[in-house]
Each structure stands twice: as structure tokens, then as C-alpha cells.
Homo-oligomer: 338 residues x 2
DNA sequence: ATGAAAGCGCTAACAG
DNA sequence: CTGTTAGCGCTTTCAT
């Protein structure tokens, strides 16, 4: 392994000078800097991240902790964030929390707090206080953190507004009996549900119904795991039990795709028999048959906002926590074409 | 920040003893170990990864470098590897190479060689020699490395055998005029194409045709970028130009899905008008309409093999490079049901 | 403009 | 069984 001492020796300077020169410190004479840089290149020197990080507390690494890597939405989000991080000359490292508390803790305390200059974290099973304790003071930006009073900077998906837009779209195209798939209606009884993504999307629905003068019926709200397979099975159940509906808003695109597939299994056609709209804007929407209308979260925008908040926090300000919301747009495709 | 000295002091032992105790070294008396562990817990101590890594050369981190994080196949693979790594008590960090040489180099020399105990790398634009030089001697396992004589351990997808199975399946169900989508037929002229995934899958096709007594026609092999959108456009082109076919093998599932969608755009139905089969076994196959028949690479098996090779290499043996091939199975679904 | 020296927090010989 | 000691490679005062 070639160390900075080797480079310094080759360039005929001290280790300190080499260190400065390698990082382009203006205090070093251009000629000297050149000599050092050349020596470094000749020796194929690379600075040792552990050593730098140990000494300076900076690694140039940004952590991205996401619940599942093998579903379209989180993986597209991770990709968007990785690219945004790269655009700032830093390196993103993505880790899967697998939605397990144990794993979230391990990531925060082993990697985030020790190694990363900051972390973008999609919290699942860990409280703000735990994050605070585990992250060892390192900056953290949360994704869809819905604490009543946020402790951390965070970026939210446009739950309420997006959902309202979706419902309005279904009504616009003539749907009269709309199902909401993936909702947990009981949740509202407790705390108005504002502290979860599902709760906030539900609230968006209710707002839309209210504005549109529609009185919602609890039976419209269908609870199911947010997974494609569950949504598919739920479609079977609904059709088999003879529930009438001409439109469905699904809490995520993955749910929507499973739901449409489930309807197809029972001979119910989208959009002829029922219109379906999702939420997220994953790539598959465009080439599914039928192509899926959706509330597309602007992932670039989300990434930009999350990384922006994190970098602001890294170089400095003890400003109060900010919460931003990602942009979105309604993308109307075949699944709501009537 | 609480360091090991703090723990040692709290437990009334030396730093060395604390270090041993924390790692459960049997040389330390159980009572002492207990005391240290308790002190550590009380102080919320976590060992500093940079320091450990700097000193011992081990971090417990396994790098996973993958070309794109926002496509189903690579993201499912990353997830499978992450979980397999976790199963061994290590932490996986995933990085996107974005298929750029610059980025591959940065990952190898900044993160792999400095920080990770080993890396599972999906090479795109970087040669074996470059990897050797950049990885600083750290163990590397390649994914689908197709060097004529491999320098590194690697795990390959079952290109030839899988493709043969796919073609045979199409013929079995009665296809007489089969298109191969995503093939680069010219490639064969050069080096028999054995050094790329696309080339090896093409070879699998030709083997199958030969065995089945079919004389392939170059016009059956359709070259296109391995992207859904390109495959879709290619379907348009093919149908518009009146090419006759009753079956298609697509080099990946993503290509297949785009291709089917493109056929649908032109009123060609799968499987009635043409059967389609893909390769990879991504999750979407199951709920696409029509569900997609495919050669499903066993991702668990691939992950197990890759991680196994890497761990073997990490603790030791200078044994010669091994190349393993992941298991696969034919999954017949609606897209080839006639 | 450059160099000497002091550690960052940890581990691993080596003593005792 | 436990403690002493010497660094890992780098950054950063502080001198010069």
C-alpha cells in the first residue's frame, strides 16, 4: 500500500506539505503542488479513507438508508439520491434497512454515525429520539418523517395534495363510486392518522371528498398490506364479494398494478369497467398494460431537496429543522381513459 | 463522543482489556467482560469504524457495486446480496456505478480498496487489470465477468443454458418463426461473442437452433438497446415493417415487457399472435398483463454463491479464481400459453 | 511556503 | 488474565 509518506518522499517534501498539496491548498507553491500531484499519480496513490475520516471526521460519504431495495419506488428513489449526491462530488452508499428495527439501528450506529458525513434516512421502526441518540450528532435528513413536531430536516412526499388531485381526477372522468385501496380507515379514529404516509393520503382523500361534496362511506376504504400480491388478492376478494365500484385510487403504484392484475384475473377490465390511479410515478406505469395513471412524485426534486438540506446541515447552521415537500404531477394514462 | 478509553475507565480496566472484552476474546475473565459490556451499554458506546478499520484493516463492510439502481434486475440482485451479507453478520453498502468508467474507478479506489473487506462488483467499463490495480489487493467477486481467462472469482448468470431452455420452450409450444430481441448478431463475426452477456445468450440461441435442426436467419436477430423504451420502439418498427413471427425470446425481462407493450400498441396480442419469453425473473413478470414467461435466475443462489466466494477469499486462500454459475428455472406463464 | 510533531480511536504484539 | 506500548495513515496546529 502506498501512503502519503511515499508520495512526500518521492516529491521531496514533508508529509504535511504533501497533504496540503494533494488537497489543493493555496498556501503551497504551484510548482510544489505539481510535483506532489505528479508523484501521487506515478505511485497510484489514493488517500486512505479510514485515516482521513478518523483524523478529520470527514469521509465524503453520504449514507442512504432505505427500507427495501427490490421494489420500484424505493430503488428509484435511492438511484435519484445517489445521482444527486454524485453531482455534489460526494459518494452515496445505500443500505437496506429491510424494515427491521435491528437493522435500522445497526446502520445508524455503525455506519451513519461513524463513517458518513450525513445520512438520508427513511425511518420505519425507530423514533426521533433513537435516531438522535444513534446518529451520534451526525446530520440526518428523514424521508416522509411525520412526527407532529419534527426534530430533523425532512422531505415529504406530497401526500395530501397528491391524493386530492388523484381523487379529483377520478371524479372528473365520471367515477361515482370510488374505492381507496391500501387505506386504513380505523387509523383515523385514533389520531387523524397524520403521522403516517397512509394516514396522510387518507386525509387527502377525505379532503377531496369533502370539497367535491361527496359523503364517504367506510366501505369504500379497503385496508391491505402495501404489496402487489396482497393488492391482487384483495381485488379477487372484492370482485368475488360483489362490491360495486367504477374507480379506485391506490395508495401506491405497486398496489395499483397488483390491483389491476387482480381485476384482470376476474375479468374486470381497466379502464372500461373501472378506472384506476396510483401514486408514486414508478417507471413501470408507462409500459404496463394498461399504462397506469398516477400521481408522480418528482424524484429528482425530492433528491435535490433531501441532499440540499443535508449539505446545508453538514456545513453548518444550527438552524431549526425544516420540512420540504417534493413536487408532483398528475400523469393521466390509459388506466383512467374513459 | 464516547471512546473506548471512557468505557475502560468506567469499567476500571485498561483500554486493551476493554478492547478484548468488547470483542468477546476468551482470554478475558467473564466477570471482567461483563463489567466492560455493562459500562459500554451504559455509556452508549459504539466502536469507531474508521479507527478499527485503520488499525486492523477490517471494517465488516462488504461493497456491492451495481450499474443501475433503478431497474428491477440490478435492484433485486443488490437486495438479494445485501440480505445474504447480513446473514453473515456483515453490512452491505451498495453503490451505483451508473455504467460510467469514472464512477467505477472512484468506487473501487475510494471505497472498495479503502473501506470494504471485499466487494461484489458488476464490471462495465473497467478491465480486469484496472480492477486489480484499483482494488488495492482487496478481494473482489465479479458478476458476469466474461474474460476468457478470469483473474477474479465470479458468478455468472446461466446465459447459454438458460437461453437454450427458453428457445426450446418456444419451439415446444409450436413457434416456427422466432425472433431474438436484444441480440447483436454482428458480434459473432468478431469473437464468437463469448465475452459479453448478450453474446453468450446469443450463443445459447444458436446452440438451441442447431440442436433443434433449425437454420437461423440473421434477420431473426434484432439488435436494440437493452432498455424497455427501446424494445417498445423496436416492436413498433418490426410490426410496421411487416416482419412475420410467432415467438420472441428477449434477452432480458425488461426488454420483453417493453416489447410486449410495443406489440400491444400495434394491436398484436401476446400470446395469441405471438409468444414472448424473457430472461432474469424479475418480480414484475408475475403481475404484468400478460404475465411473462421467463428464465428466472435464482437470485438467492446467485447471492449465496457470490458472497460465499467473497468470504472464502477474505479469510484466506490464495486459491485460483473460481467461476460459478447461478441456478435458473423456466417459469412458464401467460405470455407463452397457447 | 514548508516542516515537525501531536494525536484521531483503535488493535495487536509483547510483557508481566 | 490484564496492562503497556507502539503504531495504522492522515490532518492540523504551531513553528520556522
Amino acid at each position: 500500500m502506498v501512503t502519503m509518506s511515499d508520495v512526500a518522499k518521492a516529491a521531496g517534501v514533508s508529509r504535511a506539505t504533501a497533504s496540503y498539496a494533494l488537497r489543493g491548498d493555496p498556501r503551497i507553491a504551484p510548482a510544489t503542488t505539481d510535483r506532489v500531484l505528479q508523484a501521487a499519480r506515478a505511485l497510484q496513490y489514493t488517500t486512505n479513507l479510514s485515516a482521513r475520516s478518523l483524523r478529520s471526521g470527514r469521509s465524503g460519504l453520504i449514507g442512504v438508508a432505505i427500507f427495501e431495495l427490490d421494489f420500484p419506488y424505493p430503488s428509484e428513489m435511492s438511484a435519484a439520491i445517489s445521482r444527486e449526491v454524485a453531482r455534489h462530488g460526494l459518494e452515496a452508499i445505500v443500505q437496506e434497512t429491510s424494515n427491521s428495527k435491528e437493522s435500522e439501528i445497526a446502520i445508524l450506529q455503525k455506519v451513519t454515525s461513524q463513517l458518513c458525513d450525513g445520512t438520508i434516512f427513511s425511518p420505519g421502526n425507530v423514533s426521533d429520539e433513537e435516531i438522535r441518540a444513534l446518529s451520534g450528532g451526525k446530520p440526518v435528513v428523514l424521508l416522509d418523517d411525520l412526527s407532529p413536531d419534527p426534530v430533523f430536516d425532512s422531505v415529504a412526499t406530497p401526500c395530501e395534495a397528491g391524493t386530492e388531485t388523484a381523487i379529483r381526477h377520478l371524479v372528473d372522468i365520471g367515477c361515482r363510486r370510488i374505492l381507496v385501496i391500501g387505506a386504513n380507515y380505523d387509523m383515523l379514529a385514533e389520531d387523524r392518522g397524520a403521522t403516517s404516509v397512509s394516514g396522510r393520503r387518507l386525509i387527502g382523500c377525505l379532503n377531496a371528498f369533502e370539497v367535491l361534496g361527496i359523503t364517504p362511506d367506510p366501505s369504500q376504504f379497503v385496508s391491505t398490506e402495501w404489496r402487489t400480491a396482497n393488492a391482487r388478492a384483495m381485488a379477487h376478494t372484492l370482485v368475488d364479494s360483489g362490491v360495486e365500484f367504477d374507480g379506485a385510487f391506490c395508495m401506491t403504484d405497486s398496489i395499483a398494478l397488483g390491483f389491476i392484475r387482480g381485476l384482470a384475473d376476474r375479468g374486470v377490465n381497466v379502464p372500461q369497467d373501472a378506472a384506476v390511479i396510483g401514486f408514486d410515478g414508478i417507471n413501470e406505469c408507462d409500459y404496463y398494460i394498461p399504462s397506469l395513471s398516477t400521481i408522480a412524485t418528482d424524484m429528482e426534486d425530492l433528491a435535490r431537496k433531501a441532499v440540499g438540506l443535508l449539505l446545508d446541515r453538514i456545513d453548518g447552521g444550527g438552524v431549526p429543522a425544516r420540512t420540504l415537500t417534493a413536487d408532483y404531477r398528475l400523469v393521466a394514462r390509459e388506466s383512467t381513459r374513459r
